[in-house]
Symmetry: C2
Subunit: 200 residues, 2 copies
């Protein structure tokens, strides 16, 4: 006997998965409702339009990803390790999903662009938050212009995830990890940390 919030939650969850697998425009509301075990009437009770459901999906995915990244970073105190934990998270995720899905935020942002302005704004906020977390880990190590370097690292990860999905191989994300190591070595050399080894 589903409480109101349960139904709402299940709708967002179903929509998240379907949008993730097949994109936003390609998925109809009927399928979302069915997949959530609800009727279209309930869907429209909670979400006045498809756009609004998209916003809820973006918020959910954003919170999930940032939460998982926070969890991966916590427990590490070294700046370099904290940054690499983000890469590890994405790698583990791609591995678990058989390289089949990619990052839901990237996929949606590529498809949507500016056609749903409110969605674009939230996606931008997600990227900013992600960059902020990585920049924070670098700043704590006294890195100069950490924001820009963090933006480059996030870009590399996003692109690597995309390539990983397309190529169905973990190669791209592994290459990105190595390149991240190079960037981090230059930005925060061993002298300023403790000891760092080179991997290749």
């Amino acid at each position: 006997m589903p409480h109101a919030t349960d139904t709402r939650e299940r709708l967002i969850e179903s929509a998240s998965e379907l949008f993730w697998e097949r994109g936003y425009a390609a998925v109809g509301l009927a399928e979302i409702a069915a997949s959530a075990g609800a009727r279209q009437g309930s869907l429209y009770h909670f979400f006045p339009a498809k756009d609004d459901l998209l916003l809820a999906v973006i918020d959910r995915q954003s919170a999930l990803i940032l939460g998982a990244i926070d969890a991966a970073m916590s427990g590490r105190t070294d700046g370099r390790e904290r940054v690499m934990a983000v890469a590890d998270f994405y790698r583990g995720f791609m591995e678990r999903t058989g390289c089949g899905l990619g990052c839901p935020m990237s996929n949606l942002s590529g498809e949507i662009g500016d056609s749903v302005p409110r969605a674009a704004a939230r996606i931008a906020a997600f990227y900013a938050a992600l960059v902020g977390r990585i920049a924070g880990a670098m700043e704590s190590q006294g890195v100069f212009e950490a924001d820009q370097q963090a933006a480059a690292i996030v870009a590399m990860l996003q692109g690597a995830v995309l390539q990983t999905r397309v190529s169905k191989t973990l190669g791209p994300i592994d290459s990105a990890r190595v390149a991240m190591g190079v960037i981090l070595d230059v930005a925060m050399p061993a002298a300023e940390r403790e000891l760092s080894v080179q991997g290749a």
Copy 2:
């Protein structure tokens, strides 16, 4: 009086732009035909299904982008400059389009995934070709494991283009250019560049 090929070409051109602006699923065949000054009958004469038009669009975009990149790289002989020319191309492109569009191949690959397998294969081939060009420029300088480094660079550029579009600022692509410089400095230090030593 449009020749057969003209109509076909115009259809592909219109579809390319519309898919680029709004995505694949969101654009209908009627709009594409109208925008090309043709009727739906003509469209179906050349393309048995929407999928087939998508393949033609992907081929066109791939050829256009790779052609522009080849043009940007030619004229430079230094490996580092050849790689940076790719970044310059993307930057110039984002600047010209007001950061509004992004890379058509990335956008489509994010939306389509595996739902149109033939399309996914061609997108993968495009990425491979792009990585190959950058790897070629690095190999000529005797870089070790140029393929992996090139993959990381392509990933960073793709991600930066995506972030540039979302943030509507050239910042991300500029940050990526700086980071690319760091990677290239480590991979092919100045000493080896002018000698063009061959390693194996």
